[in-house]
């Protein structure tokens, strides 16, 4: 129990070291931008993993929560002049409230119905952003979103945003590992394995589904806010259902049910299109083929593949 948490904390420390050294090696700001976007996707997919892999529920609407975080915080800071830190927090609280309301009602649905409900939510958010032009700026987008500030320091550059976003992500990963290695995480896993058996141990299935849903929405909202204040420009196109699908794909690609899978999945699939840009029009084809290949041949995702390789290596050493 404690051993597993310690192991994940050691790995996290390794990741942190890598992250804080990387900017001294990479000098191209383009790489930093891609890494920043990766971090935001990892954050969101990490939440989705709690929902999909732990609680056993699926959502195709998390781009909607990302949009709530992005537009909520951006509009608040633009209209009130409040610090982005405060508006980020307010957008987060608002999203949590809405997700809790939604969770209590739609998580009574199962399987396909739940997927449809979350999809409908995403579409509703998307069309609202497109149609409510006076408020949101409509399809052309919303420019001039103020960046985060730390005292006199304006965190607008790619490098500053890199340290900010990755530090937040590492902190949240730390807390998430606390959670998954506690009775809360076990209750969620039990729920994904067998709802009936879990309920017969006194685990309230509905409560834990709502908890996972709200947490995943909160992670997405946070990612959205950081995205908005980092890029200073957002438009509805970013938050369509294809982004929701992509997020779920990242979770499955990395290995559902594993937080490290979320890190791997989003951490490889976000930069991949940029790496594949070399192939021009074949890019999407290769991306799709790779995704399908992993999901067909390694249903446990990259993390499952990695664990299998490590296991066979260690058993090979023993024999």
């Amino acid at each position: 129990m404690f051993a597993r948490l310690q192991k994940d904390r050691r790995r996290l420390l390794g990741l942190a070291l890598l992250i804080y050294i990387l900017p001294f090696i990479l000098h191209n700001p383009y790489y930093l931008t891609v890494l920043n976007l990766s971090a935001l996707n990892i954050l969101t997919v990490c939440g989705l993993t709690l929902l999909i892999g732990y609680a056993g529920q699926i959502s195709l609407g998390h781009a909607g929560f990302w949009a709530l975080g992005a537009y909520g915080s951006a509009l608040l800071s633009l209209h009130t002049g409040w610090s982005p830190w405060i508006t980020t927090l307010l957008a987060l609280l608002g999203t949590i409230g809405l997700a809790a309301l939604m969770g209590v009602t739609i998580l009574r649905l199962r399987g396909n119905y739940l997927v449809m409900a979350t999809l409908a939510f995403n579409l509703a958010v998307y069309f609202f952003l497109v149609e409510a032009e006076d408020l949101t700026g409509g399809p052309p987008g919303l420019p001039g979103i103020p960046p985060y500030k730390l005292g006199p320091l304006v965190l607008a550059s790619d490098l500053a945003a890199y340290f900010l976003i990755w530090t937040v992500l590492l902190l949240i990963l730390f807390l998430t590992f606390n959670l998954v290695h506690s009775s809360e995480g076990r209750a969620l896993k039990a729920l994904a394995a067998s709802e009936t058996a879990a309920a017969c141990l006194g685990i309230n299935p509905h409560w834990y589904k709502v908890l996972a849903f709200v947490l995943s929405a909160a992670y997405a909202s946070l990612a959205g806010s950081f995205y908005a204040h980092y890029l200073s420009f957002i438009s509805p196109k970013t938050f369509d259902i294809f982004f929701s699908v992509e997020l779920v794909a990242m979770s499955l690609f990395g290995g559902r049910g594993s937080i490290w899978g979320a890190v791997l999945g989003a951490g490889t699939l976000t930069p991949l299109p940029h790496l594949l840009s070399f192939f021009d029009e074949y890019r999407d084809l290769i991306y799709g083929a790779l995704l399908m290949g992993v999901l067909i041949f390694f249903p446990q995702g990259l993390m499952g593949l990695l664990e299998r390789v490590l296991r066979s290596k260690s058993s090979g050493l023993k024999s």
Partner: protein
């Protein structure tokens, strides 16, 4: 000794099939009550109704004097009414120890935040739970395999994990749905010993079982169900001599 569970004319139908017809009996505090009957007698249906997975059409179920009407399975479990399933259900992706720890869920006193931030209260509770889970694993003889993935254990041992998981929180009443199903003779004997130990710890057991040997050896009383009706009730010896029971089992 009082009654811990009381069933009053409990009935349940599935469409036109009457699975339970006015079943009434009660469990005394601290006894092992065997519930037997031919296939399709309604034993599993009855356990599902008591644990709240199915809703009775008619009748009342009282647990420690309180009606269970309207309570969902998790609420009944939280009251101290635990059960196991005929077809084992270890939680995949969790180790043996983690599976057993899930059984302590109903006794949690810490909040989500305590675990998210890993506050001292949460750590202390985890430590306490862990030592209790080890005790339960020692009781079923699986302490050495605590860190195994539960799914990788052989069938008989998985059943023990499920048993440890449901008894770790010291429930008042434990409903066991065919715990010996699929076990070999030696394993069944071990199971009997474990169940007797639980009895000495003050737990009340309702044992649904096909293995009549086990039932006759460890039960204080036996209730016989046939076609949804209680046809006999009494000590194991009385049941063995009861003509209606012999008829139901052997046909006439």
């Amino acid at each position: 000794m009082g009654e811990i569970l009381k069933l009053q004319t409990v009935s349940k139908s599935f469409g036109g099939v009457k699975a339970l017809r006015g079943v009434s009996f009660s469990l005394e505090d601290g006894e092992i009550l065997g519930l037997i009957g031919p296939n399709g007698a309604g034993k599993t249906t009855l356990i599902n109704v008591i644990s709240g997975l199915l809703k009775e059409d008619q009748g009342h179920i009282l647990f420690e004097g309180h009606s269970l009407k309207g309570l969902s399975p998790w609420q009944r479990a939280a009251l101290g009414l635990a059960r196991t399933f005929q077809h084992i259900q270890v939680f995949a992706d969790l180790t043996v120890l983690e599976n057993v720890l899930c059984g302590l869920h109903r006794q949690r006193k810490t909040s989500f935040w305590a675990h998210f931030l890993r506050l001292p209260a949460a750590v202390a509770e985890e430590k306490d739970f862990e030592s209790r889970a080890y005790q339960a694993l020692a009781l079923v003889g699986l302490k050495e395999k605590a860190s195994w993935e539960a799914e990788t254990l052989p069938y008989g041992e998985q059943k023990k994990v499920v048993l440890a998981r449901s008894l770790v929180s010291n429930p008042r009443l434990l409903l066991l749905d065919e715990p010996a199903g699929g076990l070999n003779e030696r394993e069944t004997e071990e199971l009997g010993q474990i169940l007797l130990k639980l009895k000495t710890k003050g737990m009340t057991l309702l044992l649904v079982e096909h293995d009549l040997n086990l039932v006759m050896n460890i039960c204080d009383r036996v209730v016989v169900l046939n076609q949804g009706e209680v046809i006999a009730m009494g000590s194991p010896l009385e049941i063995q001599k009861n003509n209606r029971v012999l008829e139901a089992y052997l046909g006439k």
